[in-house]
Subunit: 104 residues, 2 copies
């Protein structure tokens, strides 16, 4: 398959079950995701061969949430606020260094 | 990180841009995804260590759509109907054999 289509394909759990009910506390996943997406765009590292930020449905790890997963490597993070997202982008995505304290 | 949380984490592109507009023809991604999800449940291969089916936003490969991606391996497929989904489940997910004709 060669190089992955996206080097970092990030999926934010929206914390919503199929029936629309919350599967854990509402953590404003959409707001944080929009923030991440804007930042990646600002850094000009979005698109093929680079970074893609997506919202997914419920990733079913609610008890550890809010969560996001970075594929293809399969790294799972939790986060509290935008500062955590900043750290994931600055360390993991820009330098390839995992943010240990946020790993789940 | 050890074994991936999900052996096969499948994301269906919903073919919707952030503003809600269609980014390609409406391919009933939700219907097909619901079908896949029900089938995985019926086969009792859903959950941790096994298979998870999610809907994502636009995966931004619309010109090749409708598409789905299977992580962590990063295999991208297009599909036309439920028969294609059956083949992906039977071959790729159950036997680990890629469906060459549907690869993108």
């Amino acid at each position: 398959m060669g190089e992955p289509y996206y080097k970092y394909h990030v999926f934010f759990c929206t914390n919503e079950r199929d029936d629309g009910s919350a599967c854990c506390a509402n953590h404003d996943a959409r707001v944080v995701r929009d923030y991440a997406k804007a930042k990646i765009k600002e850094l000009a590292i979005s698109g093929k061969g680079s970074v893609r930020i997506n919202l997914a449905g419920c990733l079913d790890r609610c008890d550890e949430g809010p969560v996001l997963v970075i594929y293809p490597e399969g790294t799972w993070y939790t986060y509290v606020d935008q500062e955590d997202i900043d750290e994931i982008i600055e360390s993991h995505i820009k330098k390839g260094i995992k943010v240990e304290r946020l790993l789940i």
